[in-house]
């Protein structure tokens, strides 16, 4: 391994370490927020509370700073990988996972910069550590050219759309998880610690919806672009290949999610579960189908 490929790998592996630090900081933020209960009390108590809050906030800021550094390494790693391969870096699973997560972390940082979204830090860094960790340890493959079936502009378009949509599905999924946790806490009347620092359930629901609403048209386009590509590469635009079928299933699950949100009795909790089912379908299609089910798509090299 030489040059770009080498530096790409170094950057990727380092990013996992830095993300791990970020995760630790956010976990400390979560854990220390647990004890911070704004109770009416003496002056001394109030002062202690304030000090606690500052400490909680400091953990959060350290987590964010680490995420920014990790993201820089990560994006650098993806770009270098592309330079090493002399093509867009999403020709196999390793490259697709790292690229999708790069879109995810950049999207998260944009959301943080634009609004108060730092509370997503814990789930985001958790996902980054797991995903990037899996990528550099299990999925890693050395740089290689593409098989001829991937020589297509539609390949580039299709995968970028899929990666961005996937990143947004994941953001929505995280918001749904937090929504479920927060609703449960609200129902029990005990919204404490980290959960209190989250937006209220309604806002979380809205964020989950927005992420899905952003991703759904893009996912529709992803499937269409894939079908155009399939028509050129394989001579048929749709063949019920397992991968194709599961991308359609994912699409239908999200259509059901959007319907559920507009249906009395399905709003809220049930809709959130559907959103999570959508993320699960996305990941199954991506990891499960590639690893466990053989089809036309699996030749892309794991």
């Amino acid at each position: 391994m030489t040059g770009f490929a080498y530096y790409s790998s170094v950057a990727m592996v380092t990013s996992v370490v830095v993300y791990l630090l970020a995760l630790t900081a956010h976990a400390a933020e979560w854990a220390s927020a647990r004890r911070v209960e704004p109770e009416p009390g003496s002056r001394a108590r109030q002062e202690r509370l304030e000090a606690d809050l500052i400490r909680v906030d400091r953990f959060g800021r350290v987590g964010l700073a680490m995420t920014v550094i990790g993201a820089a390494l990560h994006v650098g790693g993806v770009v270098l990988r592309g330079l090493a391969a002399g093509r867009p870096p999403w020709g196999n699973m390793y490259e697709f996972v790292t690229s999708t997560l790069a879109f995810l972390v950049v999207g998260y940082l944009v959301l943080v910069a634009r609004g108060r979204m730092r509370w997503l830090g814990l789930p985001v860094t958790l996902l980054l550590v797991l995903g990037q960790g899996l990528a550099v340890t299990v999925l890693y493959v050395a740089v290689a050219p593409l098989v001829p079936a991937l020589h297509s502009v539609w390949f580039v378009i299709h995968i970028v759309a899929a990666a961005v949509a996937g990143a947004m599905f994941n953001v929505g999924g995280m918001a749904s998880v937090l929504f479920l946790l927060r609703t449960r806490a609200e129902r029990r009347g005990r919204v404490a610690g980290y959960l209190r620092r989250l937006p209220d359930a309604e806002a979380l629901d809205r964020i989950a919806y927005r992420a899905a609403a952003f991703a759904f048209p893009l996912w529709t386009f992803t499937i269409a672009a894939g079908s155009i590509w399939a028509q050129f590469a394989w001579g048929r635009y749709w063949g019920w290949d397992p991968k194709e079928t599961w991308s359609l299933v994912t699409w239908v699950v999200y259509a059901a999610y959007l319907h559920a949100r507009a249906t009395a009795g399905w709003k809220g909790t049930r809709a959130a579960w559907l959103g999570l089912l959508g993320v699960a379908a996305f990941w199954w299609n991506f990891v499960g189908i590639n690893l466990l089910v053989s089809g036309l798509h699996s030749y892309a090299g794991i």
């Binding site: 609403a213 699950v253 319907h259």
Partner: protein
């Protein structure tokens, strides 16, 4: 709208959406069995051989699953029932909504409700302007913000975001468009495939195809004439250590002639099909055709030419049959195994270590028999019907040969099999999918519809100005979003209020709904 009408409307809406949800779930569940992959539940259209093996391995379960359509889930009646039901339900829901929408678009916004303070956003206070000045200013403000405005007796109603419903309807209708395109392709299209060896040509007529399917409305005698010559076929595989053996290049140097026209040079690759006027020609497979000559015991050439062998694995170990029915005194047949890169390890049988022809070897066993009368019945060229044939033996074992290019094997009766060389073959698929433009146009419209519907903000705002005798006119502004999950309502209400001249200090702010606006 009266309460009763409203309830009925709400009820139909509710049931329709419920139906849609249930059917969408059903579609998801129904799609799963077919997507588990060939190892769990093979599907006949993709893996007919695996289906046969499954049926052999599961003599009780297999036929049952077969009868229930589980080997062709996406062609099964119950799968069709679900999506057709979904479409019927959708049409039932969409058509009335289109009618309602058409009426709403032509109608003016409805009048302001009596109690504006019940709306999610509401401000009230005094204005420094006269009532009509204030209303003029408010109207101008609303129009500038692309609200549709209705003004009547001291009141303004503004509505915006009609694009949402339009986009939503467009999206649902476009789903029907996609189905229509698929149906057109299935009815009026065709698809066929043919194997062409290097140096040979294919003419677009029914008799030349290896397999051919077409829709009910396709006239099989109407195939437009064209010819494709496969002059040369360049194939490269990865030789480096990473992904060794993976395909790197498939390039057919071809010539194409439409009708009686002159042949034109063309390149055919995996992602660049040839487009003739009436069909698309894709390269969908490749393999080797050993060139074999069989000389019979009298010294006459009984067969000579390339024979298509079918690949069995990733390294292109391939099986094929060479038949010389004209050999005399006995006809001859060879069951062959072609190995492009014969393993050099001692004692190994036919084993390929690489897909490229680095060390091509033809292995074979031989059959001989009395000449047979020509029946004219088509025969499978890839398998050998051994009736009337006997295996050529070498002592107690079947005689076999192993030939490198240029080598010859001689049979006990003096007839000879020569491995002359090697050609590649390309599997071409010729198809016409006339509904495809409909499908893709519909998808494009559907995405457009989704974007319109997801990113427009349907909103209503109202203003009322009441003249109070002897005092400054009183202004009341309220607003609501038609769909939750939107922002900016508070800003619009405040903006309209200030356009009406509401004095900021005098505003009796009612922040009923503003708490929801945080964290966005």
């Amino acid at each position: 709208m009266t309460t009763r009408e409203f309830l009925r409307f709400a009820w139909t809406q509710l049931t329709a959406m419920r139906t849609a949800l249930v059917l969408l779930f059903a579609l998801i569940v129904a799609a799963i069995p077919g997507s588990l992959g060939p190892r769990v539940l093979p599907q006949r259209p993709n893996n007919p051989v695996l289906v046969r093996e499954f049926l052999d391995a599961h003599p009780t379960l297999g036929p049952l699953l077969d009868r229930l359509g589980f080997f062709d889930v996406y062609g099964a009646p119950w799968f069709a029932a679900i999506y057709l039901l979904l479409m019927v339900s959708m049409v039932g829901c969409i058509v009335p909504r289109i009618a309602v929408y058409a009426r709403n678009v032509r109608a003016m916004p409805s009048g302001a409700p009596r109690r504006l303070d019940r709306l999610p956003q509401h401000v009230a206070g005094e204005t420094g302007r006269t009532a009509s000045e204030a209303l003029d200013a408010g109207q101008a403000w609303l129009l500038a913000r692309r609200y549709r405005v209705r003004r009547q007796a001291g009141e303004l109603s503004g509505e915006r975001g009609y694009a949402r419903e339009f986009g939503n309807l467009l999206f649902h209708v476009s789903i029907l468009g996609v189905l229509a395109g698929v149906a057109v392709s299935a009815l009026a299209g065709f698809k066929g495939s043919v194997i062409v060896t290097e140096g040979a040509a294919f003419s677009n007529s029914l008799s030349q195809y290896d397999d051919f399917t077409s829709g009910g409305l396709f006239d099989r005698s109407s195939l437009a004439p064209f010819t494709v010559w496969v002059d040369r076929f360049d194939v490269e595989f990865e030789r480096g250590p990473v992904q060794r053996g993976a395909a790197r290049q498939f390039l057919v140097h071809a010539r194409v002639a439409e009708g009686l026209g002159e042949p034109v040079a063309a390149k055919l690759e995996v992602n660049t099909p040839l487009l003739t006027r009436s069909a698309m020609v894709n390269l969908i497979g490749h393999g080797y055709a050993p060139v074999v000559t069989i000389t019979d015991a009298r010294g006459a050439t009984a067969f000579s030419g390339p024979v298509v062998f079918l690949p069995q694995d990733g390294n292109f170990t391939s099986l094929g049959v060479v038949k010389a029915p004209d050999a005399r005194p006995q006809r001859i047949a060879v069951e062959g195994i072609f190995v492009p890169s014969q393993s050099r390890a001692g004692g190994t049988g036919p084993l390929s270590t690489f897909p490229a022809p680095d060390n091509p070897v033809l292995w074979g066993t031989l059959w001989q028999g009395e000449p047979r009368a020509e029946t004219g019945r088509p025969e499978n060229v890839y398998s050998l019907d051994t009736t009337g044939l006997t295996r050529v033996m070498d002592g107690a074992d079947p005689a076999s040969f192993r030939l490198a290019v240029g080598e010859t094997h001689t049979l006990p009766d003096g007839s000879r099999v020569t491995f002359d060389g090697l050609r590649r073959w390309a599997k071409l698929q010729v198809s016409d999918t006339p509904g495809l433009p409909i499908v893709w146009a519909s998808v494009a419209l559907g995405v457009l519809g989704l974007l319109l519907s997801m990113f427009s903000k349907p909103r209503r705002v109202f203003a009322r100005v009441t003249d109070a005798a002897g005092a400054a006119p009183r202004v009341e502004v309220g607003g609501l979003d038609r769909v939750d999950a939107r922002t900016g309502l508070a800003e619009d209400v405040a903006g309209l209020a200030s356009a009406l001249g509401l004095r900021a200090d005098a505003a009796e702010d009612d922040e009923a709904g503003t708490g929801r606006e945080e964290h966005t």
